[in-house]
Symmetry: C2
Subunit: 294 residues, 2 copies
């Protein structure tokens, strides 16, 4: 067994880092960024979620619930650092095929599943930590992917947009203790949509539909998408992310732009996102983190 | 001009009450209830929103923005008490055809449109009050339509449902200062959906879609819809309402039931709602108002 406690303080830069890959393009972006910084990566691609392109890197496919297999793979690959990144829907516990290691951990997992997302993720992190592994935030491995402070392109929020951003940030902060979504849409200080289980893309589709049906009073090109990490969020998991599809959704919803927390928001494909924002005439701004960022 | 200040303290029971009718069946239910209590009613049916059936009662059709015409009608009908009831989408200010009285009130209306819904409604109420009219809550005219405390039918929430109800009420209370929606869906203490501009029916459709797509981990028949008036809501406007379509939405969304504030939630068609709830096997419970009710 590699990765025993005696190696805890040894330098880790020579060890490969394991990237547990959920859906979307972020796992690839994180792997590319880590590689560029000279770190070897091993992809643990979650079946049903990960993009097959993750096979560009050294890669093993894993099933949710195969905790014992994951531990074995990590030890065989001499990985101690693990990054969790990419979208993964919360599965119903009954649908998981659990291996024996997972079954032994079941009481803890069941307890975890009763709480909100934060609670679930923190519990999973503890399972890995107790087995001698170290959970690392993707933002530590790939800091270049984090949204910087200020406007990204040539478009900037006007005074009304800034008032909407402030309103949205205050609302997200009030929602914090409830482990709800990480995004809201505000137009003319009127809250149009609050994200919960549906995710940002679907919320933006809803705003577009509300506008088509005349249920939003503000004109086309008004209103902002505001994203922020939950106040007590463990930043090693589930930091908000934006990408080119977010810009497409914004444009269809007739919004003026998006504000997200600088240093605590992933941009999956920065160049492509910027190009899309410039073409659509929407702003993308990194707001100060007020201590929320790492 | 009838309705001058000298009549402010005169008994009003003989005067007809004006009901400004938005959409849905609630205006009819309120008119029926007031009539049963011996009060004459005059319907002011808002074009594009009110159900044509309101013509069962003495009725005038009005356009949004026809403030002068409404004042004139109210005086001609010798109405001093006015009830606003029924759904009305917040129109874009630019789409209103304003008459001269409305145009003179425009600076106040524009200011009102900048705030949230509460602010808009309170401003409109003031316009009427300044003209010598009195805004009365539909709950005062038709108290029989208010949801009573406790379970309505034979189905009751279990312990898990009660925990979800508590969680939902706490979330709605945190949302209060933001003038957002009045409803959330919670399952296993996990917030599935938060209502904003889309309204309760569409939120329930979204929950049904999330369930179809496997994006909700709780089993079918788990989870609750929780509704409550906003903490500082002027109860003369826009109290939450439920009706048979709410039950149909609940059932499709696979929820266990709904909890709404006793004494501060309208039930448009109580008998029909109860029949639908019993048939669908869902509970409907009136929660204590904690001082929120009238």
């Amino acid at each position: 067994m590699s990765g025993g406690p005696e190696r805890r303080d040894a330098p880790l830069a020579d060890e490969p880092i394991a990237i547990v890959c959920g859906g979307g393009s972020l796992p690839l972006a994180v792997a590319d960024a880590a590689t560029k910084r000279g770190r070897r990566v091993v992809m643990l691609a979650v079946r049903g979620f990960a993009d097959p392109q993750v096979e560009r890197f050294r890669c093993h496919w894993i099933g949710l619930g195969q905790l014992g297999r994951v531990f074995k793979l990590l030890r065989a690959e001499a990985c101690r650092d693990i990054v969790f990144i990419g979208g993964m829907l919360r599965p119903a516990l009954g649908t998981l095929r659990l291996d024996w290691t997972a079954v032994r951990a079941l009481p803890r997992v069941v307890r975890a599943f009763r709480g909100g997302d934060d609670h679930l993720l923190v519990s999973i992190a503890r399972l890995f930590e107790d087995a001698g592994f170290r959970l690392v935030g993707a933002h530590e491995v790939a800091p270049d992917l984090l949204l910087p402070e200020g406007a990204l392109g040539t478009h900037t929020p006007n005074e009304r947009d800034r008032a909407d951003i402030e309103h949205g940030l205050a609302l997200l902060s009030a929602l914090g203790p409830f482990d709800v979504g990480q995004a809201v849409v505000v137009a003319g200080r009127h809250v149009i949509a609050v994200e919960a289980a549906e995710g940002t893309d679907r919320m933006l589709e809803r705003v577009a539909a509300l506008r088509r049906d005349g249920r939003i009073r503000s004109e086309f090109g008004r209103g902002v998408l505001v994203k922020a990490p939950k106040p007590k969020q463990d930043q090693r998991f589930d930091l908000p992310s934006i990408g080119p599809p977010t810009i497409a959704g914004l444009a269809k919803a007739g919004l003026a732009g998006l504000a997200a927390t600088a240093g605590a928001t992933f941009v999956a494909e920065p160049a492509e996102l910027l190009r899309a924002a410039e073409a659509a005439g929407v702003f993308v701004i990194g707001t100060p983190s007020h201590g929320a960022a790492a």
